[in-house]
């Protein structure tokens, strides 16, 4: 079983260093002006390749091309699957280059055309890729100014770049970027400089620009992977085992018309392809397979299981991440007047992106091209190269803008399956996972158990903090509160289900445990939960969002009868947030979330409307995991394998959403697509306690309403 606790933390470096032949670029792109961004491979990204004597390794992070017709094409290995980075990166380039938005086109996630990129995850696009593209664009602008100065024999200082032109105001003349690059074959390289342009100097960024590509989406013209076709296309289907861990013992293909259908039986992999999807489905249904199954844990025992299934230590398992040890948590706790000890659990949940995993694979002259919706095009290229024993340069992965991922599309299952079927069929093959396959055979957000022990003075000031997370991960495990005596540790476990990244990773689980526990300390001390947090917080950025959320929410306001108020705060991936929740508990025990207020600070805001969209969306996604989402499984089989069995938030679940943006133009922009999710669950749980006195310590909180309160004795 593959354990992927925090993929981005244990990611190895790229398989090779990109050696750029400058002439190749000009040939490839057809003249004009090319700017390459060379970045030092950062230590955490370079893996085992670093450490050689001399200068740090450099690799190309992005490139940009200004063509003779004025078109600006930007090449980045990042991919778009709903975070709106196609828009925000276009804004960054427009800003620096002084080019109209409409002249800029992004080529994303194509391993033949774009530079190596680890993948689109970890909220890294805005802090890292946007900064690199800004530099490429700034260098292009300088090169265009040089060209114009030379052409007109004037001082560069007399020239201005604006709206896609270099303007010589004194001479009353102007030339378009395209005209200036006509007949040129210029290549410039710029070293990535970690200091981004201050937001105070932005002109296009910092504003709400509508989504680039929205017209293609509202007309249905945009082609996701699952919409693609190729001449001679066949359709694939894979035979899934009856349970996790099952092995194939016999296969009878007698029911399949071998003249119409291609069958692949390779180890435990069985799949078919046929000219139509209907024929493929029919054929896979006609296969008679015998499987050998082995006993598997069920969801009923999962937390006991995880606590007692430690993973053998190995490099890159993430167990050291976030660990803290200071003072003596045990001694301080023994002396504390308030002592609490509680356990919290989170269930496995499914990403359930609306576009399931899909791939279209085509072999031609020993080269393999795969279109697929993945967050790691280069990672999937490596998976394909390994699976088919090909050098990576014989494999091309192209990622069309994708129907969402949320951390769930890091791997290349569908790509490998489609490629295997295509090789056997001698046709391009498209494979689109069914919803049932997506629910049962993708990977999940890890389940986990978190044990917290704390000690506090009578006024709620923390003196001791001990925090152990089993299996869910290390992201967001550190407390932002000031506690002199701390032990914090992540314990990787053997997960019976395949698990991996999920939007915000374990920060959701860790914030749930910590912020619920903070509420319990506040109640034990008899101090208001907001005040308890403030007493323990020095971090001014957390304090600022906490105060902003409380103010907008009206924290001190009287409660409506039957309603409860809760709050939670935190920080993760360079962003800071606080969420307040108002819930209503109906007499039958049904919980309705009426209002969520999130104050969010991620440095300088790049696109306020799209940031709001991300925060709102994360709150809604967080609501599902908070209230009712859970993967159920028994005997090695996922039973929540369709939307009628796995409930996700719908229109009627959405409360009033209020977003307070704290725009810090003096601070670099952090990524923001993930973090706004992490305080939703504890805020709601704390609000339920406020309304009912019932403390819920398991996610999901109320999959089937509130438990009946125990009768008073």
């Amino acid at each position: 079983m593959v354990l992927e606790p925090e993929r981005y933390e244990l990611a190895a470096g790229p398989a090779y260093r990109f050696e750029v032949d400058r002439r190749e670029f000009v040939k490839l792109l057809g003249g004009g002006l090319v700017v390459l961004v060379a970045r030092a491979a950062p230590a955490q990204e370079s893996g085992t390749r670093g450490g050689a004597a001399g200068s740090p390794p450099r690799e190309i992070g992005a490139w940009l091309h200004v063509a003779a017709d004025g078109t600006v094409t930007v090449y980045t290995g990042k991919v778009e699957f709903g975070q709106d980075i196609r828009t925000s990166l276009t804004q960054a380039v427009a800003d620096e280059l002084r080019a109209p938005l409409g002249t800029i086109r992004l080529v994303m996630g194509d391993t033949d055309l774009t530079p190596f990129d680890q993948g689109t995850f970890g909220s890294r696009t805005t802090p890292f890729m946007a900064a690199q593209l800004r530099q490429a664009a700034a260098e292009a602008r300088e090169a265009l100014l040089d060209l114009a100065a030379a052409r007109w024999s004037v001082d560069r200082a007399a020239l201005d770049a604006r709206e896609g032109e270099i303007v010589h105001a004194a001479g009353g003349r102007a030339l378009g970027f395209g005209q200036l690059t006509q007949g040129q074959a210029l290549v410039r390289t710029v070293a990535a400089d970690p200091s981004p342009t201050p937001a105070a100097r932005w002109t296009v960024a910092g504003r709400s620009i509508p989504k680039v590509g929205a017209r293609e989406i509202v007309t249905g013209r945009h082609r996701y992977t699952s919409d693609l076709t190729r001449p001679g296309l066949w359709h694939g289907k894979v035979l899934r085992p009856p349970a996790i861990g099952a092995t194939l013992s016999a296969l009878d293909t007698g029911g399949v018309d071998a003249k119409r259908v291609s069958v692949v039986h390779d180890g435990d992999f069985v799949g078919v392809s046929a000219p139509t999807e209907a024929e493929a489905a029919l054929a896979v249904g006609a296969l008679k397979a015998q499987w050998k199954t082995s006993p598997q844990p069920s969801d009923a025992q999962i937390f006991e299981y995880l606590r007692n299934a430690p993973l053998e230590a190995r490099e890159g398992d993430g167990r050291g991440a976030g660990a803290a040890a200071s003072g003596s948590a045990e001694r301080a706790r023994a002396a504390a007047p308030i002592r609490l000890e509680q356990s919290y659990t989170v269930a496995y949940i499914a990403h359930a992106p609306l576009e399931p995993r899909a791939a279209l694979a085509e072999w031609q002259d020993g080269r393999l091209t795969v279109w697929t919706g993945t967050q790691r095009p280069f990672g999937v290229r490596a998976e394909l190269a390994e699976a088919f024993r090909l050098p990576e340069e014989k494999v091309r992965v192209i990622v069309p803008d994708t129907g969402a991922g949320y951390g769930g599309k890091h791997t290349g299952e569908a790509a490998i399956e489609a490629a295997r079927l295509a090789r056997a069929a001698g046709h391009p093959v498209k494979l689109v996972w069914t919803r049932e396959e997506e629910f049962a055979w993708a990977y999940f957000r890890p389940a986990g158990v978190i044990d917290v022990k704390s000690g506090a003075r009578a006024d709620g000031t923390l003196t001791s903090w001990e925090f152990h997370n089993y299996n869910s991960g290390a992201a967001g495990i550190r407390t932002p509160y000031d506690v002199p005596n701390q032990t914090v540790q992540f314990h990787p476990a053997r997960s019976p289900l395949r698990q991996g990244s999920y939007r915000a990773l374990a920060a959701t689980a860790n914030h749930f445990a910590r912020e619920t526990h903070m509420d319990e300390i506040a109640r034990a001390a008899g101090v208001d939960p907001l005040e308890t947090r403030r007493r323990n917080l020095k971090d001014v950025r957390v304090r600022a969002v906490l105060d902003a959320a409380a103010e907008r929410f009206g924290w001190t306001r009287a409660r409506t009868p039957g309603h409860g108020h809760g709050l939670a705060a935190g920080t993760e991936k360079g962003s800071y947030l606080a969420t307040c929740a108002e819930v209503q508990v109906e007499p039958g025990g049904a919980v309705r979330v009426r209002r969520l207020v999130t104050a969010f600070e991620c440095g300088a805001v790049v696109n306020p409307e799209h940031l709001r969209n991300q925060i709102e969306g994360a709150m809604v996604q967080g609501l599902g995991g908070a209230l009712f989402e859970a993967v159920r499984f028994a005997d090695g089989l996922v039973t929540t394998d369709r939307f009628s069995r796995y409930r996700v938030p719908r229109f009627s679940d959405v409360p009033e959403l209020d977003v307070v943006l704290v725009d810090r133009k003096d601070l670099p922009s952090a990524g923001a697509g993930e973090t706004p999710l992490v305080c939703v669950a504890p805020a709601i749980g704390n609000a339920i306690f406020d309304a009912t006195g019932i403390r819920l310590r398991a996610l999901p909180l109320v999959p089937s309403g509130l438990p009946r309160p125990e009768p008073a004795l």
């Binding site: 249905g220 609306l354 369709r642 939307f643």
Partner: protein
């Protein structure tokens, strides 16, 4: 296999299909109208929604053979002579999407709603769209977009 005449976006299309095929698969694979999406195959997510004689219909659970001769409208037929339908414009302007995969189904359902009820309030809109999933969670924005479209077309009361 049987020959089937389908009226799609005002055009008569002739396809050879066996009786069990879904309308969604015929639209996507035979007619290359891929704007209607597969999301679940059980009529739970709404991504495959098209209009059959004006009624929103889950094409993934509708047999193609059952809609022969009836008028089918898909997302591809909404734009007229390069002009977007007001609901399409409203979705784009309100940023009522993230990944966009649910958008065509949402728009088709909203088209039917505004024909039926030209001036729906936000609760009417949410109720009509309850059978659609937006996993990115842009529900509020979708309600606002439909409301905006109602206002900009004649039906809206402001």
């Amino acid at each position: 296999m049987a020959r089937l005449e389908l009226q799609v976006n005002g055009v008569s299309r002739s396809v050879d299909v066996d009786g069990e095929r879904s309308l969604l698969s015929v639209l996507r694979d035979d007619l290359d109208l891929t704007g209607s999406k597969y999301g679940c195959g059980e009529g739970q997510c709404g991504a495959c929604t098209v209009l059959v004689d004006g009624r929103p219909t889950r094409s993934c659970v509708t047999k193609a053979a059952s809609v022969g001769g009836r008028s089918i409208a898909t997302i591809e037929g909404l734009e007229q002579g390069g002009r977007l339908h007001p609901i399409q414009t409203a979705f784009a302007e309100a940023d009522a999407m993230q990944c966009g995969y649910c958008t065509p189904g949402m728009i088709m359902e909203a088209v039917a709603l505004l024909r039926r009820k030209p001036d729906p309030g936000p609760p009417d809109i949410a109720h009509a769209l309850e059978g659609h999933i937006c996993r990115c969670g842009t529900y509020d924005r979708i309600v606002r977009a439909v409301r905006r479209a109602a206002v900009t077309t004649k039906g809206g009361a402001g």
